[in-house]
Amino acid sequence: MHPTTAEHLPAVSEPVSRGFAQAWARRLSLLTESKPALIGAGLVLFWVLAAVLAPVIAPYSPNANDMAALAHPTPSSTHWLGTDHLGRDVLSRVLWGARTVLTVAPLAVLGAALLGSLLGLTAGYYRGWTDLAVVRACDIVLSFPVIILYMIILAHFGSSALNIIAVLTLTKAPIIARIVRGLTIELREREYVAAAKLRGESPLYIMLVEILPNARGPLIVDMCLRTGYNVVIIGALGFLGIGLPPPDPDWGGMVKDTYGMMSVWPHMALFPCAAISSLVIGFNLLAVGLREIGLRD
């Protein structure tokens, strides 16, 4: 797409067409400029690694019952984080639980971003009746108490990873649509959009190629934040018993199953709670840091 390649450039000029890897390395090095971003990225990365490596590093199968441990479920040298009320290794379940959370939450955000961006772009670009319709529709979705909405939908359609993703996409898309709409309304007045119209570009091209790339900064920050919230919601759904179906480990479900024994064996509920918190804090800090870095440039 770009006519210039490295050979055309005089040696003294800026290294304008960097390699892809270099560009990413530069972006990653930006992360080091913000402490929150660095801590957040660290936390998220920790859980991503845990999820990816779970089959390798988890000491036990997440659903294997160790009957011998039932008598003494507290953390020990055989079960570092102890076992739960069924004698399953908490560490293994937390590690495996990261897999489900880190698939469902980002996929749901991606879905919401896709749907929301499309709605927001259309509403913000066309304004008028389209805008009114989209904004009102979003308002209607947002005016529902979400937890009740989740309960109704998941109770009706059944609880599965796919349904959770669908429900999260549906309820988060309006929020992203609002953000994108606001940005679009501002960006559509830019002179480069007028220039695109003057050379006869289609509205779809203008929305996707001229406007959307320039909305990516705030959008990425928000997606990061939204992923964190999704982790909370997935936890809450699990806790309410409409999360991912058993026996697959699910942090919220683990808390639900064991919080009754909190006063006796607090470790059973506390470790999955800590897992949820640290991941959410990680995403939030990353979002804060990304915003900070974005503002600086």
């Binding site: 770009h2 210039t4 002179e191 480069y192 003057l198 006869g200």
Partner: protein, 688 residues
């Protein structure tokens, strides 16, 4: 002057912390301001003039640091002041006025509160006394109806009024030094002229010292006694206004003067000569003279081997320049070319015909709203533009000149009237419905270099895409064609790989011009293409537009508020006011009496580089009226200094044809106008 200076900077050094480490932006700066003196600081963006202002009040922010030298204000070292002493100095002994008045005013407080706060805080005045002082001050800054103004919120005032309030706030504490940083940059010419006159008068009356920072040499001439020219953080020339502008000794000062168009001359008489190259970034300061790389008089060994001293100009006390060749360079003279050098082209065929064009914007009715009066942006525009001609459209902001551009290009559609391009009616055709050939015919260059290019797209893509869309070229030929277009706008081909954030303002604007040229347009509409650029860059872009237009024989519609640029570039000029054309004609006729009274006011408001020029002869009172309530008679009657009576308010003025193609829309006979304007008598608004 024997008095101790109010402000003295001694070998000031300022650095900014950046990703690359400490960058020395002000390497070594020394100057002083005597009591009652007004010193101007001019230079292009990035030369450090605002940094100086911020350093003086110690507002450099977290990244900036004074790393050496001394700033003495009223004999005290500013660096040694404690925070509370500093607070007492700021706003009381030393006040600042910035470019954007809204940034200095609190939007949730009435103007009166904000004004009264100053003496109440610094002098412990009571509420009543403070109010009296505020009223007094409002009268001084010529805001009529002070009582009512005091109860207003900032957003209820116009830009010019806001800036007056800020000036009043600055002066109400009777400071010893007033620092003004681009105080008139966002204002219309007529408002700017009024504010400058005000500053000049207040200074005379209060004896306040002023440090006046501006990129516009003309405004400095109007307000200041002395001027310092800054380049790359250094004061390259200093002297009285007369010394510096009559006998500039530093090549950079000369360069600046050479790139300034003047209302008195056009392209055939005095070509603009832009300064080649661009300023080196502060991080890569060269050894020796900072300007050497761009200087026409550079002598490699002498200029680039060691630091350059500031040398006095022989026979001119107080005049000094930082140039080793100060005594050798010949006297500067504005280059004049023999008139008629650019021979007149025979008039081409009519490319663009506009008849009775009107554009109204309807305020959108809310769900329950009752609908407001429409905004009448254009009210009956008639124009003919011939092929190969440059038509300039001038007027203040809100006069409808940008709306006209949008209707021409199809970004907006006309409410009534006809617009014909090459015989085809296009006024009611939005750009989406225009055929490719028509889109190709008319292209636009925009105002803002930061927003004209998509920050996500590389230059090569921006131009290549325009080529593909407008010429339907297959993708394979792009690279060479992009390079060719870049060459037309005098940019190296390797720029194609850059993103807009790595381009300077001038480069962005060149790329935008190349993009507009991709379809080989017959008509180029340029909406304030140089107003956001520095003077030296501005000159280069103006020359480029001129060249391209002459080479391609394209028609150029040049929209501008800057009459000097218009005078330089245009063949014909249309002066717009409130959506109508009040005067139209060949540039020579429009810039000579008889003028339409509005043209006269605009012209006299243009700051001129002549130290002997007095303030504006015609000062317009009041802001531009709202475009929702167009007067029944002459649109200008409400502000017209030559209004003759009720007829102006009630009856639409006749169009008076003067010579070929020159017309003025006014109730006053052309001959009478000529007499009035030749006499040059200072006009006062006639009461009617």
């Amino acid at each position: 002057m024997t008095d101790a200076p109010i402000l003295a900077l001694e070998n000031l050094r300022v650095s900014y912390a950046s990703r690359a480490g400490l960058v020395n932006v002000i390497p070594d700066l020394t100057f002083s301001i005597a009591p009652g003196e007004a010193m101007g600081l001019v230079g292009e963006s990035g030369c450090g003039k605002s940094t100086v202002a911020l350093a003086i009040v110690r507002y450099l922010g977290r990244a900036g640091r004074i790393v050496g030298g001394r700033i003495r204000f009223e004999g005290r070292d500013v660096a040694g002041l404690t925070p509370s002493e500093l607070r007492a100095v700021r706003g009381h002994r030393l006040a600042m006025v910035y470019q954007d008045p809204m940034a200095s005013l609190n939007p949730v407080m009435t103007v009166g509160r904000q004004l009264m706060e100053v003496p109440m805080l610094h002098e412990g005045l009571g509420e009543r006394a403070a109010r009296a002082r505020a009223l007094e001050m409002l009268a001084e800054v010529r805001l009529l109806d002070g009582e009512r103004t005091l109860t207003r919120y900032p957003h209820q005032l116009s830009g010019g009024q806001q800036q007056r309030i800020v000036i009043a706030m600055a002066l109400i504490a009777e400071p010893a030094l007033l620092i003004m940083d681009e105080p008139t940059t966002g204002l219309d010419v007529t408002v700017e002229a009024a504010v400058l006159d005000l500053v000049r008068e207040l200074r005379r009356r209060h004896g306040t010292s002023v440090l006046f920072i501006s990129h516009n040499l003309g405004t400095v001439v109007r307000v200041c006694d002395r001027v310092g020219v800054m380049y790359a953080g250094e004061l390259v020339e200093e002297g009285s206004i007369r010394q510096v502008f009559a006998n500039p000794r530093h090549p950079y000062t000369r360069g600046l003067l050479d790139c300034l168009p003047s209302v008195a001359r056009d392209k055939r008489q005095a070509p603009l000569r832009p300064i080649p190259g661009q300023a080196a970034p502060a991080a890569a300061r060269p050894v020796g003279c900072g300007f050497a790389a761009r200087c026409a008089h550079v002598e490699p060994g002498r200029c680039t081997s060691r630091a350059i001293a500031i040398l006095p100009v022989v026979g001119e006390p107080g005049h000094a320049a930082q140039c080793v060749r100060i005594a050798e360079l010949p006297r500067w003279e504005r280059r004049l070319v023999e008139a008629g050098a650019g021979a007149d082209r025979p008039p081409g065929r009519v490319t663009l015909r506009i008849e009775g064009l009107e554009k109204r914007y309807l305020e959108r009715r809310g769900l329950f709203g009752s609908g407001r009066a429409p905004v009448r942006a254009l009210n009956g525009i008639d124009l003919l533009v011939r092929k190969g001609e440059t038509l300039a459209i001038v007027g203040e902001s809100g006069c409808g000149k940008s709306t006209l551009a949008k209707v021409l290009t199809g970004l907006e559609t006309a409410t009534a009237g006809r617009v014909e391009i090459e015989g085809a009616e296009v006024g009611s055709v939005p750009v989406e419905s225009r055929p490719l050939a028509l889109k190709r015919t008319i292209q636009m260059v925009f105002q803002n270099p930061d927003s004209t290019l998509n920050p996500s797209h590389r230059v090569g893509y921006a131009i290549g895409r325009a080529l593909r869309r407008l010429r339907r070229r297959p993708g394979g030929e792009d690279a060479s064609e992009v390079a060719r277009l870049l060459a037309v706008v005098k940019l190296p081909a390797d720029l194609a790989g850059r993103r807009p954030d790595r381009l300077s303002g001038g480069q962005s604007q060149r790329v935008a011009i190349a993009r507009a040229l991709a379809g080989n347009p017959d008509v180029i509409v340029a909406d304030e293409p140089v107003s956001a650029l520095d003077v030296s860059v501005q000159a280069a872009i103006i020359n480029l537009l001129n060249e391209i237009q002459a080479e391609r024989g394209a028609t150029l519609i040049f929209i501008s508020h800057d009459l000097s640029v218009v005078r330089y570039l245009a063949d014909h000029v249309a002066v717009m006011y409130l959506g109508t054309i009040v005067e139209l004609g060949p540039v020579v006729d429009v810039f000579a009496p008889p003028f339409h009274p509005y043209t006269e006011a605009l012209l006299s408001a243009v700051p001129v580089l002549d130290p002997d020029a007095q303030g504006a002869r015609v000062v317009l009172e009041g802001p531009l009226p709202s475009a929702t309530e167009i007067p029944r008679g002459c649109p200008f009657s409400g502000r017209c200094p030559r209004r003759i009576g009720v007829i102006c308010d009630e009856t639409p003025p006749p169009t008076r044809q003067l010579s070929s193609g020159h017309r003025i829309v006014c109730h006053i006979e052309a001959e009478e106008l000529r007499e009035l304007q030749r006499a040059g008598d200072p006009v006062t608004r006639r009461s009617g």
